[in-house]
Structure formats: structure tokens, C-alpha cells
Symmetry: C2
Subunit: 218 residues, 2 copies
DNA sequence: AGATAAATTTAGATGAGTCTAAAAAAATGA
DNA sequence: TCATTTTTTTAGACTCATCTAAATTTATCT
């Protein structure tokens, strides 16, 4: 079996490869796992020995099929537990990420599948991320950050790129959450901040940084 | 915070002190944690430094108030998760112990209390063990092993002393489970095996070893 | 291309938790 | 009681995951 730590490396490599493309750098893994590059190198050798990653010195890494399968299984667990925490235990969406970081390492595959059934096979977690099925299959809906929309575009908020509680609490505070319909009415030339019309007729202004981290379907 | 490993030692010491009385021996802890006595001694020093146990060389150990509080919190989590697994995810009572051994180490106290509420504050887990409330309080019902009953006594099965899947599966097989009413009709002189009448009018015979591990209220 | 900067790897050390083997203390029993 | 057995502790070593500091490789820039 793979240790808690090995699982976290695989998960980080997976997430980074989705964002940064096929191969992932040692430094980016160090940043994601809150460790130092030297520690990452040690672990990469170990994961390569186990044939969970493709690794050539100085060349970055990518997951093998087996490694990817394990990573996706962890992501599945993480998102199902998040859904459970919000839907059944009434946690708020900004409270569940840390908890799911622990729960995702519970080993039993049987448990995950039963949890999935109990929750009635949800397709998306509370942050709008797709939940892989028990074969690891899922489709990422075609989403764009608000920062990439043109003026007058209408969209529905489907997810976020940033899961930090501070960010999610900020969204709560300005009145944005998953499912909201928004229309982009203006992009400021000066700072690229964005003005949105909500369908409760309120108008709000968000910074480019915030706009980059909110994903919509159009 | 305390590590996964430290928590398991505290839990083991707690369980052993319930069975064996106030102070617990190094060897019994080694057996309970599947380690060697030398490893236990090392850990006892560490737990004593943290003031979680009272420890004097060669004299056995007992939990401090703090240590006991932590141990009971772990027991509470273990039993709540077992209840969840059986009641909500439809696991069988012999399947949940191992899973709960992992789940009991999830740290959040908030999570446990919300789980408790979600489950509607259950008083007993699937094996009949009492679930401590969020102040660590619980009452152990007055239970006797069947092996301690006299002939003709009627009782209701309330719990088991042994949680190994093999034992629980054996009970399933011979038709005994929690809530069953039984009447002890005979104790064999030869091997102390016991004959029981169930309230479906079936009669079964169980060995003394099995009788010692089934707890009834009379 | 050559110099400098950045990224990565190696070398050697640390702490947690475990082990075996040997020493020390406590319990047992003739 | 005192010799023997059992229990417990000490001593020293190992693995895992981490670190810092130094060396090496790759990338970048003029």
C-alpha cells in the first residue's frame, strides 16, 4: 500500500498536471505539498521505483496510468466526503476542504462506493468540481473564469479555482455562490476589475484576481 | 497535538484499564498495539512527558485525567462512526471495526458533534457498547457474560466482549444478535458449554468461550 | 557562446516509531 | 530465603519523511 504521504504527492502531481500540463516540476510540487525541493526529489525516486510516476532527473515528472488511477481515487474520495459534509452534516462550503484532506485517506474502496450510493451518486462537489465515478471517469464541464468573458456575456457560476476558506468566505460576503447567474456588464480599463449583474438585480464589482478564480458555464 | 500512534496507545491503555483494573502492564499494551515491549516503554516515556499517563518504571501505567479525556474522545468517535457505517451505509456489524479504527483518528471535534446530531444522538454502537456524549459521559449498563448466569435466567443480549469479525460472524451463523432474548436452560458439567432457548423457540448450544464473550442484561 | 541565474539533485543530519539483543528489576516457588 | 523465571527497561540500529547546505544541471540573457 501507499502511505498517507505518498498519496498526497500523487494527488498534488495530479492537480498540478491538470493546471500546468503534462509534466510537473519539482519546485511546484514542493510548493503544493509545503515541503522543500530536496524532500520532493527523495519522494520522486520512491514513487518512480513503485512505477507510479515517470521520472527522469531534471526533466520533471508525470503520472503513470497506475499513479493517475490512484490520484483520481483520492480526488473521488475527497469530493464525495465534501459533498457528505455539506449535504448531510450542514457544514458550509468554506469549512470542508481541510476535513476532506483527512477523510480522503481512509482506505476502504467499499466505504467510498457505499458513501457514493448513500449520497445518491452526486456529480459535483460543493465547489463545483466533478466527482469521478468508481471507475475514475468524470467529465469536466466546459468552464471559463469570469476574467475570460466578454462584456454582456451571461453565465452560471459552476465552480472555483481557489479553495482557501478566506476566498470562499469572501464570495459569501459579496453574495456569490454556486448556481448564481451573472452577467458581465463592464471591464474596467484601469485595473481590469469586473462589474457583474446578479439575477436578483444587484450589481457588484470584483477584482481581476477574484474574477480569475470563479468559473462559469456560458 | 497527538499523533495517530499516540492516540492508539491511549485508547489501548484505556480499554485495558477497563478490563484489567487501574494500572496496565507494558506487555499487555504491547499485545494490544501489536508492538514489542521495548517499543511500548519508549512510548510510555513520551506519553508521561506529555502528562497523559502516570508512569513509574516497572510499576505499570494509568491515564491522567487529560489522557483519559483524550481516550474517551477517541472511543466516542470510533463508536459513532461504527453506528454511521451500519445505520446509514448498511455495513454489517462484523465489517465496521477496522474501518472505524481509521475514522476515529479524524481530528475535528466539530465533525464528531455534527455526526452525532445527524445520527440523532445514539446511545449504543452496533456491538452494544455505550457511546460517550460530547462531554465524555456515558453509562455502562449493568451487563453480565452469559457464562456468569445461573440456569433458567432470562436475559437480553446487549453487547459483546470480542469484536473480531470471525467471532461476530459466528454469532450471525448460530442466530444470535443484539436485542435477542435468551434463556439459559442448561450448563454442561463436562465442558461448561451452555444451552440457550431463543424466543423463536429454537434451542442452541454454545461453548464456554463464546458464552464468556456475550453480554446480557437480566 | 559564455556568464550568470534558477532549478534540481546529492550528501549528510534529524526526529518519530519501531526493532533485536542484552541488562536490570520484580515475581515466583521450592 | 534465594535461585529461577518473567517482565520491563536500556542500548544500539533501522526506516520513513523531512531538513539545510553544497554541488550539479539546465535555462536565460546579453
Amino acid at each position: 500500500m501507499n502511505s498517507f504521504t505518498e498519496e498526497n504527492y500523487l494527488k498534488s502531481i495530479y492537480h498540478l498536471s491538470v493546471i500546468d500540463g503534462e509534466t510537473v516540476s519539482t519546485n511546484s510540487i514542493a510548493a503544493a505539498t509545503h515541503t522543500k525541493a530536496a524532500s520532493v526529489t527523495d519522494m520522486l525516486k520512491k514513487l518512480a521505483d513503485k512505477k507510479l510516476i515517470h521520472y527522469a532527473k531534471y526533466q520533471g515528472v508525470s503520472l503513470t496510468d497506475t499513479g493517475k488511477q490512484i490520484a483520481i481515487a483520492i480526488v473521488r474520495k475527497h469530493r464525495l466526503w465534501e459533498f457528505f459534509l455539506v449535504e448531510k452534516l450542514n457544514f458550509k462550503w468554506d469549512e470542508v476542504h481541510e476535513l476532506a484532506e483527512e477523510l480522503e485517506h481512509i482506505t476502504s474502496a467499499e466505504l467510498v462506493d457505499r458513501l457514493d450510493k448513500f449520497l445518491d451518486y452526486p456529480k459535483y462537489d460543493p465547489h463545483g468540481d466533478p466527482i469521478p465515478d468508481n471507475n475514475g471517469r468524470f467529465k469536466q464541464a466546459e468552464l471559463k473564469p469570469i476574467s475570460a468573458l466578454e462584456v454582456n456575456t451571461v453565465g452560471i457560476i459552476m465552480g472555483v479555482r481557489e479553495h482557501a476558506p478566506a476566498f470562499l468566505q469572501h464570495l459569501e460576503k459579496i453574495g456569490l455562490t454556486i448556481g448564481n447567474q451573472i452577467q458581465l456588464t463592464e471591464i474596467a480599463d484601469y485595473d481590469h476589475s469586473v462589474t457583474l449583474n446578479l439575477n436578483n438585480n444587484k450589481t457588484i464589482n470584483i477584482s481581476r484576481d477574484v474574477a480569475k478564480n470563479i468559473l462559469v458555464s456560458i
